[in-house]
């Protein structure tokens, strides 16, 4: 297993006071909380920080950890020395109410079940002495905007914490095929009943909640249920009006561009956003693209326009 540098993870020195450790923890917990953070590795970092704090906040565990010595590096291959914990008196349980399934093999081997730190912390009912509903599990699922429009089936790989008969906690990979319902939008949850943690004492299993996020799409941008597409048009289409083809999530449609349109103008395609009882709309945002004046004839055309169509687009800028 890999050695964990708990001081490095917390960004504190080895002689940091308990107060400094607490302050560092508070700051990092806010930064990497999975419900708050935008960092892509937030969940892993949050777990790591919690594990480090679980050890460093407890003077007994911290002293035992310090005793491993300072020659270790983060990620280095590690086996606990046979008598690493000799001479320590432990009063508390290994886990102080924190969820043990969040912690690494490294933590488990030092402070987990079977070691001297095992104790009161385990009497939280997960061993099945009494009836307790299974925990709810949470995961994020990344889908395309098209999947949200059409509905889809996605295969998910989840790491599920599992407690073996000896009380050791490991992660078991689990593959799930899940139907993504039509019309789901970013930030919404899909609940899969009974797919969370197992209940004990005959109580029901917990649920699995999947929170949906959209993959970035090169064409379609979604705001709640409305969909935005940039629609390039020629200057004459914008000035004279015309019918142009626009991609929508449901396929290509014809859109009438009114005469006298300008760049940035939004044309609405009612009801062509994400489906729902009150479906979203699609907006085509016009972008006028000028053809390059890359030969004599084209340059002559532009020059003729300049002569015959005097026009000051900056009339309202003042001065």
């Amino acid at each position: 297993m890999e050695y964990k540098d708990y001081y490095g993870i917390m960004g504190v020195s080895k002689d940091a006071s308990q107060d400094e450790i607490k302050r560092a923890y508070r700051k990092l917990a806010r930064k990497y909380h999975p419900d708050v953070s935008k960092e892509s590795d937030a969940e892993a970092r949050f777990k790591e920080v919690n594990e480090a704090y679980e050890v460093l906040k407890d003077p007994e565990k911290r002293a035992a950890y310090d005793q491993l010595g300072s020659q270790w590096r983060q990620g280095q291959d590690f086996r606990p020395p046979p008598d690493w914990d000799a001479g320590f008196e432990f009063t508390g349980g290994g886990f102080t109410g924190a969820d043990q399934s969040r912690f690494s093999d490294f933590f488990e081997s030092l402070f987990g079940a079977g070691g001297p730190f095992r104790g009161a912390g385990h009497a939280t009912g997960r061993r099945g002495e009494f009836r307790r509903r299974g925990e709810d599990h949470h995961a994020k699922v990344l889908i395309s905007v098209k999947d949200a429009y059409q509905g889809a089936t996605r295969t998910l790989q989840l790491q599920v914490p599992e407690v073996d008969p000896r009380g050791h906690v490991g992660l078991r990979p689990r593959t799930l095929n899940v139907k993504i319902p039509r019309g789901v939008t970013a930030g919404q949850q899909i609940r899969l009943s009974g797919q969370g943690g197992p209940g004990t004492g005959g109580a029901p299993d917990g649920d699995l909640f999947l929170e949906v996020e959209f993959e970035p799409d090169p064409l379609f941008r979604v705001e709640h249920r409305d969909v935005y597409v940039t629609l390039p048009v020629t200057p004459w289409e914008a000035a004279l009006g015309g019918t142009v083809a626009v991609p929508t999530l449901g396929g290509q449609v014809e859109l009438k561009v009114p005469a006298g349109s300008q760049s940035g103008q939004k044309l609405r395609l009612k009801g062509r956003g994400l489906p729902a009882k009150a479906p979203g709309d699609q907006y085509a945002v016009l972008r006028i693209v000028t053809p390059p004046a890359d030969n004599e004839a084209r340059r002559a055309l532009y020059e003729r326009m300049a002569r015959e169509m005097p026009f000051d687009p900056r009339a309202n800028l003042g001065e």
């Binding site: 508070r26 917990a29 806010r30 909380h33 999975p34 419900d35 708050v36 949050f46 919690n50 509903r133 709810d136 949470h138 089936t153 593959t175 799930l176 095929n177 899940v178 139907k179 319902p181 019309g183 789901v184 939008t185 970013a186 930030g187 919404q188 949850q189 899909i190 609940r191 899969l192 009943s193 797919q195 917990g206 649920d207 909640f209 999947l210 929170e211 970035p216 941008r221 979604v222 705001e223 709640h224 935005y228 940039t230 940035g264 729902a276 009882k277 945002v285 972008r287």
Partner: protein
């Protein structure tokens, strides 16, 4: 684990605004006692979307708000008002980021 679980696609319930839950259903969905949910209603953290007779109905989206509030209270030691404030700000950030992506795509 049942045989064939790998292949059979699971259908879930979409927790959106179209789904409504009674207080009892919300309690079961969030695995919380009614008193805690009532405290969240009082804080304005969740709001009933309708009253049918003497029964409150909550939108399915309330479940996520309750989950996040519970996580924030447990992990960051904030109180209910702090969790409610964080939730409102997180919603605002999400809306602004979506808006920003729409605007950035025009350039």
């Amino acid at each position: 684990m049942a045989e064939g679980e790998r292949n059979r696609p699971l259908s879930g319930v979409l927790m959106d605004e179209e789904l409504t839950l009674t207080l009892g259903e919300l309690c079961r969905s969030c695995d919380l006692p009614a008193e805690e949910l009532l405290a969240m209603v009082q804080e304005g953290l969740i709001e009933p979307v309708a009253v049918e007779g003497r029964t409150w109905r909550f939108a399915g989206t309330a479940v996520r708000r309750v989950h996040v509030a519970v996580h924030l209270q447990r992990d960051l030691d904030v109180n209910l008002s702090g969790a409610a404030l964080a939730l409102d700000l997180l919603d605002e950030i999400r809306a602004l980021q979506a808006r920003l992506r729409v605007l950035e795509s025009r350039s």
